[in-house]
C-alpha cells in the first residue's frame, strides 16, 4: 500500500498547488506595475489646456487624482471617454490626462468634440513621461493618493463597473 500512498499524496499536493496557482493567476496579458506603492514619477509637460503654465507633478499633490494616459490615435480611448466624463461629473477626483505621442491640435479638437473630463492635460509628444510611468499601451489609468503614491493601475479602457469596483474602494 505504501508504494502507492506516497506518489498519490505527492500528486494531490501538486494538484492543490496548481489549482491555487491558477486561481490566483493575474489576468493573462496584464503585467503588474512596479510603480504600485511608489511615488508617482516626476514630470513637467506643456499643458494642452493652459499654454502659459506647464503641468508638473505638483498637480497630483494634496488630493487623490486619476492619471489617464490616452491619445487620439487610440480607439479604446474613444470607447473609454464617456466613463471619464462620468467620473468627472461625480467630482470625486480630478482627472489628469497624459496625451501620449499625439498631435496637439488633434487632441484639442478631440476634447472639443467629445467633451473634456480633464483638469490638466500634459502633451507627452516624445513619449518620455509615459515610459517613466511604465505605460505600454493606451489607455492606462493610475490612481494616485494625496501623498503622491501610486495606489492602483488599470490597463485598458475604464468602464463604470471597473471604476466602482476597483478604484472607488481605495477612496473610502
Amino acid at each position: 500500500l505504501n508504494r502507492y500512498l506516497l506518489p498519490l499524496a505527492a500528486f494531490a499536493l501538486l494538484l492543490v498547488v496548481l489549482i491555487v496557482g491558477l486561481r490566483h493567476a493575474p489576468e493573462k496579458g496584464v503585467i503588474a506595475s512596479p510603480l504600485l506603492g511608489k511615488s508617482a514619477p516626476q514630470f513637467t509637460l506643456p499643458d494642452l489646456l493652459d499654454t502659459q503654465n506647464p503641468m508638473r507633478t505638483d498637480a497630483l499633490r494634496g488630493h487623490w487624482s486619476l492619471v489617464n494616459v490616452w491619445g487620439t490615435w487610440c480607439e479604446e480611448c474613444r470607447a473609454e471617454h464617456a466613463t471619464l466624463l462620468q467620473i468627472k461629473q461625480q467630482g470625486r477626483v480630478p482627472i489628469i490626462g497624459i496625451d501620449w505621442k499625439d498631435d496637439d491640435a488633434q487632441a484639442r479638437a478631440w476634447l472639443t468634440e467629445l467633451g473634456n473630463p480633464y483638469d490638466h492635460v500634459g502633451a507627452d509628444r516624445e513619449g518620455r513621461v509615459a515610459i517613466d510611468w511604465g505605460v505600454y499601451g493606451a489607455p492606462e489609468s493610475f490612481l494616485v493618493n494625496p501623498a503622491g503614491t501610486v495606489v492602483y493601475k488599470h490597463v485598458g479602457a475604464l468602464t463604470p463597473q471597473i471604476w466602482a469596483q476597483e478604484f472607488l474602494p481605495h477612496l473610502l
Binding site: I31, A32, P34, K101, G127, R128, I131, W133
Partner: protein
C-alpha cells in the same frame, strides 16, 4: 538563370530588408554600439511581448531604443540601464530573467536537472535562458 537561382537571389535580397527594423544610424563609438545591440536584444518589447526591442517595429520599442542609446551616451553601465527599465516595466522586460529570492528555487531546479545529465559544468556557465 534558372528559377531556383532566381528565387535564391530574391530571398537573399529580401531577408536583410525584413530584418532591419532599427533604422537609426549606429552610435559613433563602436564599443557603445556593440553594447547597444546586446542590450536591445535582451530587453523585451512590452507591446508585442515576445519580441526584443531590437526586433520590434512598434513605436514604443523605438522610443525605448532611443532611451537605451541616450543612457549609454550618458555613461551608464549595462546594469544601470537594465535597472532603469526594470524600475519602469518590472522584471518582465528582461528576456533573460535574473535570479532573485522568489525564483531562486527555480534556478536551483534547472541546475540540478542539468547536472543529472552530466552537463553540470556547461550548465553553471550558461544558466536558463529566456524566450529567445
Amino acid at each position: 538563370m534558372k528559377a531556383p537561382a532566381l528565387l535564391a537571389l530574391a530571398l537573399m535580397l529580401w531577408v536583410p530588408c525584413a530584418l532591419a527594423v532599427d533604422s537609426t544610424p549606429p552610435l559613433p563609438n563602436p564599443v557603445l554600439q556593440q553594447r547597444y545591440l546586446a542590450l536591445t536584444h535582451e530587453l523585451r518589447c512590452m507591446q508585442c511581448q515576445n519580441e526584443s526591442l531590437a526586433d520590434s517595429p512598434v513605436g514604443l520599442a523605438s522610443d525605448l531604443r532611443r532611451d537605451v542609446r541616450e543612457l549609454l551616451q550618458a555613461g551608464q553601465s549595462d546594469d544601470q540601464i537594465r535597472d532603469h527599465m526594470v524600475a519602469r516595466y518590472g522584471e518582465f522586460i528582461l528576456l533573460r530573467p535574473r535570479m532573485n529570492w522568489r525564483n531562486a528555487w527555480l534556478w536551483r531546479a534547472v541546475h540540478a536537472d542539468r547536472s543529472d545529465h552530466r552537463r553540470a559544468r556547461v550548465a553553471r556557465s550558461a544558466p536558463a535562458r529566456g524566450y529567445r
